[in-house]
């Protein structure tokens, strides 16, 4: 089922229609845009201190930060899938009053500056926050400055990407499959798990990749809500920023590592799951 959907998508994206008339004037702004987007990457590659690179990126600090980044981004994505897919289903399939408002509120972190998001998180889940103070009273734990806080910050910022992406895919999935399953006696949950979810696979994968990439690069909300301490909360982007202050070469090297890791994982996932 997914393969058929993917194949048609691919066929379309290759522009197989020979009658397409190309408005060549579009190539000029498109080319300028492409140059604008790839130049910084080229700059990074040119200025990379290649001969120092092994020593710059093999330090235990870098490995610790990289591991922390990968772990927290993956955990944030997992949470986003578990919570976000049901949200997307509600937004796509249910018609109720206030749906637009709900969607706007849920996707607010997309447009909110991450630092503002970090402050908001502190005010909610911080030690004196609305919820955080109660948690401290009952369980005796506080969230800020822990690795869990990094995951929370990343989930807050990245989950909307998954929700938006999955909601879009859900709208493309014919609801008549659900009806057919119902007429054959499938329960509601069975239908969601065995009919809707499999067709949603590519959409969830695309959303998860976006979400993961956003979480991996998260900086503002993390440094505000989780602080910055090596091994606990200092992720790669925080370390890049710190390194930029006193060792620009290290910052460039770390940026390159982050770039390579992101590209490698995105490319790997794209070949396997994403055919768009």
């Amino acid at each position: 089922m997914t393969d058929v959907a993917a194949d048609t998508a691919e066929g379309r994206s290759r522009g197989a229609d020979p009658r397409v008339r190309v408005p060549y004037a579009l190539f000029v702004p498109a080319a300028i845009g492409v140059v604008f987007l790839i130049l910084p990457i080229v700059g990074l590659l040119i200025r990379t201190p290649w001969h120092h690179l092994p020593s710059l990126i093999s330090s235990p600090d870098v490995r610790t930060a990289l591991r922390l980044s990968l772990e927290t981004a993956t955990a944030a994505t997992a949470i986003a899938i578990v919570v976000g897919v049901p949200i997307a289903w509600v937004l796509a399939r249910l018609d109720f009053r206030g749906r637009s408002l709900l969607r706007a509120l849920i996707t607010l972190p997309l447009v909110l500056p991450p630092v503002a998001g970090g402050i908001a998180l502190l005010l909610a889940y911080g030690r004196r926050g609305v919820v955080g103070s109660e948690i401290l009273k009952v369980f005796g734990v506080s969230l800020p400055f822990t690795t869990a806080a990094v995951v929370v910050a990343e989930t807050f910022v990245a989950m909307p990407f998954l929700i938006v992406s999955v909601e879009g895919s859900l709208r493309g999935v014919d609801v008549r499959y659900d009806h057919a399953a119902a007429t054959l006696g499938a329960s509601r949950l069975f239908t969601f798990v065995h009919v809707t979810l499999p067709m949603l696979g590519p959409g969830i994968a695309a959303g998860a990749v976006l979400c993961w990439a956003r979480a991996l690069g998260e900086f503002g909300a993390t440094i505000t809500f989780a602080g910055s301490y090596p091994g606990t909360t200092q992720t790669m982007p925080l370390q890049v920023y710190l390194a930029l202050q006193n060792n620009p070469d290290a910052a460039i090297a770390l940026s390159l590592v982050l770039l390579v890791v992101s590209v490698a994982i995105l490319a790997g996932l794209r070949d396997r799951w994403l055919r768009t």
């Binding site: 020979p18 140059v35 790839i38 080229v42 502190l122 602080g227 910055s228 202050q245």
Partner: protein
């Protein structure tokens, strides 16, 4: 269709080649830029001192001032007073960790005046050849422990903040307040266990104000500026880690004349009065 495809390929190839070409050019540009900018800046800086001595009202335009995070309150006042005394001049201050600001200046940020919280961070700028003349020390500042107003953990000494159960925020060691704190802890033969290493002193103070940490090592001036939101606890070892604040006119800016005038004002008795009222010590 074939023609379209090849056209697209041509565009992509051209784009990449152009991008690489531009990048190639730009990589050689920075090496020539500072040397050509340097004489221009120093020649305009020369009349600056004479202008300061004789014709003060001749300054005009915008003065971009990069100042350490701990100077925010005083420099905002100093900038307003300077603007009042020099109609037509606009001071645009920007605050941050001294090391961040220094890095931005050495990367070519157009700045007229740099006021750092340590001689080390100032050294980054002067060693890169971005300063005009020698920096002047205009203030000193001592560390202090900032705690919640009621001091619930009964913190009375530097040793108290290293106790387990006390959440401590420090500046990162690359920032002057972090370097000074490291020195103070070393003098006291204590090992701190901070929960976070912040990018500037303002972030440490904020974490204390919000109650997210129990204690933070900041400057006396920060405690003073926070008013009733935090309480300060002095500690003996602070004397071994006193921070000096140097200021210098920077070459990367466009207004060295007004920049020098602003530096003179900061060092003047009027400027010093504002600094000392905020808790800074005499240089």
């Amino acid at each position: 269709m074939n023609r379209n495809a090849s056209m697209v390929t041509t565009v992509i190839v051209t784009t990449v080649v152009v991008a690489l070409g531009l990048a190639g050019c730009s990589s050689s540009a920075p090496s020539t830029a500072p040397s050509s900018a340097a004489p221009a800046a120093s020649s305009s800086a020369a009349p600056a001192s004479s202008a300061a001595a004789f014709a003060t009202p001749s300054v005009s335009g915008t003065v971009v001032v990069f100042a350490a995070s701990s100077l925010m309150a005083t420099f905002t006042t100093l900038a307003a007073n300077f603007e009042q005394a020099h109609p037509g001049v606009k001071v645009v201050p920007s605050y941050g960790g001294s090391d961040t600001l220094a890095a931005q200046i050495t990367q070519g940020a157009p700045v007229d005046v740099f006021a750092a919280a340590s001689t080390t961070t100032m050294g980054t700028v002067t060693k890169a050849g971005d300063g005009v003349g020698t920096p002047t020390v205009f203030a000193k500042n001592e560390l202090e422990i900032a705690v919640s107003p009621s001091n619930p953990d009964h913190i009375a000494s530097l040793a108290d903040v290293t106790k387990s159960g006390v959440k401590l925020a420090l500046c990162a060691a690359t920032v002057p307040c972090g370097a000074a704190a490291t020195k103070a802890f070393a003098a006291a033969k204590l090992t701190p266990h901070p929960v976070t290493l912040e990018q500037d002193v303002a972030s440490v103070l904020t974490k204390v104000e919000l109650g997210e940490v129990d204690a933070g090592i900041v400057y006396q001036t920060d405690v003073k500026s926070a008013g009733s939101k935090v309480a300060g606890v002095n500690f003996a070892e602070a004397a071994s880690a006193i921070n000096t604040y140097p200021i210098v006119v920077v070459k990367t800016g466009k207004n060295a004349v007004a920049g020098q005038e602003f530096v003179n004002y900061v060092a003047s008795p009027a400027g010093q009065q504002i600094l000392q009222a905020a808790g800074f010590q005499q240089p």
